[in-house]
Symmetry: C2
Subunit: 142 residues, 2 copies
DNA sequence: GCTCTTCTTGAGAAAAATATCAATAAAGAT
DNA sequence: ATCTTTATTGATATTTTTCTCAAGAAGAGC
């Protein structure tokens, strides 16, 4: 079954619907990866989707576990389709990002699950640190 | 040396200044812990500090490592004074938070440092998961 | 003291994000 | 098919956050 068909099923099982607007937004994310709400709107406005609907839909899809939200460089949200395990490591100063493989965190997340009772299966965490080129920056030390 | 005196020194060493506005905002955070920008403004407006200045100053203090920023589940920022090592684990559905001790992540962060070259000394990461009471929620499964 | 430079702020404009509400569309029941 | 209920959207209003810019304040150098 295709990715989008599966998402439709997921929504319907919860009493929600896969609408043309939601489909257009999912396809934009499928095609282009990490996008801000404004960038999503640019790609779907031709289909008549409203700006407010873009915000609403992205939040809706995020709360339903279908898309992931990441706070990027500038402190703004970006969205991407879920489905593969990776995490983000973003520099506190300049915002440069690298990906972190799931294996790197697996043991720690298991321990956290045991101790807190939370389930850490969502993936796609956003970690903050200092990238190599910003470590000499005067703002690096608190 | 007091906490605030040390922060003043830190800023001055970088060519910045400890102003009455910054002091008022730091004192609000010192007194009340995790606060949103709006909550900070409520506590300092009597001193004449502008709303725009609150946003500016919080971002300034964050970039200088003096305060920490946490994204809650509602996607809104909250700020708190830095200085002790802990992380946040927030539920994707309901936003309930628990703290995670530094030890739980130490090994993983060391590995990430080695592999990426990033420095993970900032502490105060925000992890996302599903709290026990939301694990039965229909929105829990993607 | 004065001059020069940089930092900082408030005021206001602008942009981004959210909330309200009535109209529409879909699904379910009879 | 008709009726009923709920979900969804666009339009609009509102709130939140960011930006611009000129004025004011602090520090460095003289
Ligand atoms: Mn990602
Ligand atoms: Mn904290
Ligand atoms: Zn950097
Ligand atoms: Zn929860």
């Amino acid at each position: 079954m295709s990715c989008l068909a599966r998402h439709s099923q997921t929504l319907r099982a919860r009493g929600y619907r896969m609408t043309p607007q939601r489909l257009a937004i999912l396809e934009a994310l499928h095609h282009d990866g990490h996008l801000s709400p404004a960038q999503v709107y640019q790609r779907v406005r031709q289909t008549g989707v409203t700006e407010a609907t873009v915000y609403r839909t992205l939040e809706f899809l995020r709360a339903n576990g279908i898309v992931f939200a990441t706070y990027g460089c500038d402190g703004h949200l970006t969205y991407e389709l879920g489905g593969y395990d990776h995490h983000h490591l973003v520099c506190r100063i300049c915002g440069t990002q690298v990906q972190v493989k799931q294996e790197m965190l697996q043991d720690a997340l298991n321990r956290i699950e045991q101790q807190t009772g939370y389930r850490m299966t969502d993936g796609h965490l956003t970690l903050v640190g200092l990238c190599p080129s910003c470590q000499g920056n005067s703002q690096a030390q608190a």
